[in-house]
């Protein structure tokens, strides 16, 4: 391109970079190795900066929000309004769902003070359970004949 208003097509030194790129320069030996480390650092720095930028964009600073002050009167009005609405909702809900828990006994103290289940009862129960288990284990398939039968046509 050359300078402005010239037809000079010889690019030459005008596009030569001022600071030589160390990764492209084959002559520098140790300089090249140290050169790659700074480029890694800058990559990491760039990544960190981009992460910070994204985080800053998505952060909502609550403390910076100016709250509209509610007057005491308005606050009480709103509280009353909400509580009446909740009462109406509670009433309709309790009508729809009856209490499902049955009342087991009218005299809980009597039940709690009654005698404990005796050891003989527990033994009797385990005996009944053992007999029942052995009775059920007698239920089994009795193969009498073949399931697949040949039809003679």
């Amino acid at each position: 391109m050359g300078c402005c208003f010239t037809t000079d097509i010889n690019q030459g030194d005008s596009v030569k970079p001022l600071i030589p790129d160390p990764s492209l320069d084959p002559t520098s030996g140790s300089e090249q190795n140290t050169g790659t480390l700074p480029s890694n650092h800058t990559d990491e720095e760039d990544q960190q900066k981009s992460i910070l930028r994204r985080a800053a964009l998505s952060i909502i600073d609550v403390s910076a929000v100016v709250s509209q002050g509610l007057e005491q009167r308005e606050y009480m009005d709103r509280a009353r309004q909400y509580s009446t609405k909740l009462e109406v909702l509670n009433r309709t809900l309790s009508q729809k769902n009856p209490v499902f828990l049955p009342s087991l006994t009218s005299q809980p103290h009597q039940v709690l003070a009654a005698d404990l289940v005796t050891y003989s009862d527990l033994q009797q129960l385990s005996k009944i359970a053992a007999y029942a288990y052995s009775a059920i284990s007698q239920i089994k398939v009795d193969a009498k004949e073949d399931v697949v039968v040949q039809f003679s046509i």
Partner: protein, 91 residues
């Protein structure tokens, strides 16, 4: 095939203090019942026994769940793959 179990349940009911007996499998399916305990109690009985068994780490230890009320006690116990519930009046 189920004759032995049915006979056993009938024999259990011969005890005057026992007013109900129920036998279910591990899923709560009713295998046999008599008296005050019926089909609809099968699910609850099997789940109660299973939950009680999870209280102990020992797999061979089969706990007995006792539901005490003023109309008698219901004792629930698992034996192998079946769960048995007996409704017994306080004597």
């Amino acid at each position: 095939m189920e004759g032995a179990l049915e006979q056993h349940l009938d024999d259990t009911m011969k005890n005057p203090a026992i007013v109900g007996v129920l036998c279910t499998d591990a899923q709560g399916h009713n295998l046999g019942c008599r008296g005050s305990l019926s089909d609809e109690h099968g699910g609850v009985v099997s789940v109660l026994a299973r939950q009680a068994a999870s209280l102990t780490k020992d797999p061979t230890d089969s706990p007995t769940v006792c539901l005490e009320s003023d109309s008698g006690n219901i004792l629930v116990r698992t034996h192998g793959t079946i769960t048995l519930a007996v409704h017994k009046m306080a004597s």
